[in-house]
């Protein structure tokens, strides 16, 4: 176990290093990408540009620039080129928004996915099977930004049931306003996953039901409900917990950009999109690394959980 974690940590460092190099390279090899020109503005003298180059270290060799950026990233002193604000302060501001969206949606899709999955597994071949398949297909075929726009238009504007996007702090508007504003984003984001989750869960439940230990549980006189809850569901949860860890990492690590954009939630994703469009490397670098950390850490947790839940799996 200890060795497994150490190996994973080393692998993680390598992956993060590679990610940082890729991001740095993307923005440093492009033509017309020189940040000093954009920072100095359109009407600037060569002297001004030169001064910026020296002040920000753009005149140094590219490897030095990279090392410098990584040092700043590690110490938290990274400053964006365009707004010239501390990147971590900006991320800290947006992170609660992104986390609220991602956690709420993740709980929703997991709960709904499990409920639907169990329901349809106990009534295999029924109408819910069909419904789940349709829902799963919709989930992988409908772009979240379009669905968000439609929901915004019909439920938000036409019917006026929900506010048209925006984010309200708990401290500012109370718990109710916070949840009320997030309700549409949560639902839209969760809708994309519910179908797939319930389909996977239904599949594993149907498989597990034929296992010997389930027959034993029934034979010793447990009710169907107890068998389902204590034995079948427990083993059947493994694949969707894995899925959950991965998807949650992806959503939190930047996959929520589209949802944030369409509901104007001012989260980290939107900050990322803005920074990219201004070719502002420091925030892009910080957010990509942060996203990668989330994904890699969650992947590792999932692997460990996997082994903890199912003793047949060894970490090797």
């Amino acid at each position: 176990m200890g060795r497994f974690i150490i190996r994973r940590l080393v692998g993680m460092v390598i992956v993060l290093f590679a990610v940082s190099v890729i991001v740095f390279a993307i923005f440093n090899v492009i033509p017309n990408g020189a940040p000093e020109n954009r920072m100095a503005g359109k009407q600037s003298t060569p002297q001004q540009i030169e001064a910026i180059r020296r002040e920000w270290g753009f005149d140094k060799p590219i490897t030095t620039q990279y090392v410098k950026m990584m040092e700043k990233l590690a110490t938290g002193d990274l400053v964006s080129y365009q707004q010239q604000r501390n990147v971590f302060d900006e991320i800290k501001q947006g992170l609660p928004h992104t986390l609220s969206l991602a956690i709420g949606a993740a709980i929703l899709w997991m709960a709904a996915g499990v409920a639907l999955g169990v329901y349809s597994a106990t009534r295999a071949g029924g109408k819910t099977d069909f419904a789940i398949n349709v829902l799963a297909l919709i989930g992988i075929s409908v772009p979240v930004f379009w669905l968000g726009a439609l929901v915004n238009y019909y439920l938000g504007y036409k019917l006026g049931w929900f506010p048209n996007g925006g984010y309200v702090e708990v401290a500012e508007g109370g718990l109710w306003q916070w949840a009320y504003h997030l309700f549409m984003p949560w639902t839209v984001l969760a809708l994309l996953f519910i179908g797939v989750y319930s389909r996977v869960l239904r599949g594993t439940i149907l498989e597990t039901q034929n296992e010997d230990f389930v027959r034993t549980a029934r034979a010793k006189g447990l009710s169907e409900k107890q068998v389902m809850r204590r034995h079948v569901l427990r083993t059947s949860m493994i694949p969707i917990i894995t899925l959950w860890g991965l998807d949650f990492g992806i959503v939190i690590g930047g996959g929520a950009i589209l949802t944030e954009a369409v509901f104007d939630l001012q989260g980290v994703g939107q900050y990322y999109a803005e920074s990219v469009s201004q070719l502002d490397v420091p925030p892009v670098m910080a957010i990509t690394i942060l996203g990668a950390v989330f994904i890699v850490v969650l992947n590792t947790i999932v692997d460990i959980l996997y082994a903890a839940l199912d003793p047949r799996i060894r970490l090797s």
Partner: protein
């Protein structure tokens, strides 16, 4: 319809996708109506021969733009999926066949791709490359070229197919027919591409429609964020992006391209599912992993 749109776009359309008409009028229910009202609200669907689905804020015909957008989206989706497939076949087979250090390098590269959210990487690449174009050796792509998003989508999706292929090859390479080929003195590349490749083609076939669907969706997302197809070129993603700005006054501009997009991706996914059922009942769907 969407798949065939590229073929008939020119014949059906009685105008061009970029033609703007801010001051003209169109006949709706026997009345002449401004295509774009003085305060900037475009006409809604007329269901007539001109402006069938209405106009956008620049007075361009939405129905015509949809068809041309279909062409762009299909091109990017198909090329992207083809690039993914080619790269994944090469990487997956090479990694699985040679194992050892080659496999280690390729697998770690895949880990890196896996760790970065596809959308983050796609947006970063999209913005960076569409700004300056690409100049790598003999390969030159203009800033607005459709090849750029196709290439980006093709590269960032490689993991989806390369990983399962590698796994399959790892098993296949131990089988007798590979040993027999080796005993006959067949070279590495020969074994890989004429012995192993045909054996994994069913997996490739199962994945292809799904990759295609995913590429179309990713293209729309990138274009929506301004990192894909560049205006004035049309794509369903850019059209939705433009439509959302006037969502309240003219929702048709958002709804129409979205419906096209959903129908297209949905049909590709349905095709993918049927192929999967037909060929390999046990193959796992990419998105269920």
């Amino acid at each position: 319809m969407a798949l065939a749109a590229p073929l008939y776009a020119e014949h059906v359309a009685n105008t061009t996708p970029d033609k703007q008409n801010l001051t003209g009028t169109v006949v709706v229910d026997g009345e002449e109506v401004d295509i774009v009202t003085p305060d900037g609200i475009p006409v809604g669907p007329t269901w007539g021969s001109e402006y069938l689905l209405g106009a956008d804020i620049n007075g361009r015909d939405v129905a015509v733009r949809l068809l041309y957008a279909a062409r762009n989206s299909m091109f990017i989706g198909l090329t992207g999926a083809l690039i993914t497939t080619l790269l994944a076949i090469v990487f997956g087979i090479v990694a699985g066949y040679y194992r050892g250090p080659v496999d280690w390098i390729i697998s770690r590269a895949m880990d890196v791709l896996w760790a970065v959210p596809v959308l983050l990487l796609g947006v970063a690449l999209g913005v960076a490359l569409t700004l300056g174009g690409v100049r790598i050796g003999p390969l030159t792509l203009d800033a607005g070229s459709l090849w750029i998003p196709a290439l980006i989508i093709g590269v960032v999706s490689v993991v989806y197919l390369a990983r399962p292929l590698r796994g399959e090859i790892l098993q296949l390479r131990e089988q007798e027919f590979v040993e027999a080929a080796r005993a006959q003195g067949a070279s590495g590349p020969r074994i890989m591409f004429s012995e192993l490749l045909p054996n994994v083609m069913s997996t490739v076939l199962v994945f292809f429609p799904l990759l295609f669907a995913n590429a179309v969706l990713l293209e729309a997302s990138l274009s929506f964020l301004g990192a894909g197809v560049q205006p004035p070129d049309a794509s369903w993603g850019t059209m939705i992006d433009e439509g959302i700005n006037v969502l309240i006054t003219q929702p048709a501009l958002t709804i129409a391209p979205g419906i096209m997009l959903v129908l297209c991706v949905l049909s590709l996914n349905v095709v993918g599912e049927s192929v999967r059922k037909a060929i390999d009942p046990r193959a796992r769907v990419m998105l269920e992993q």
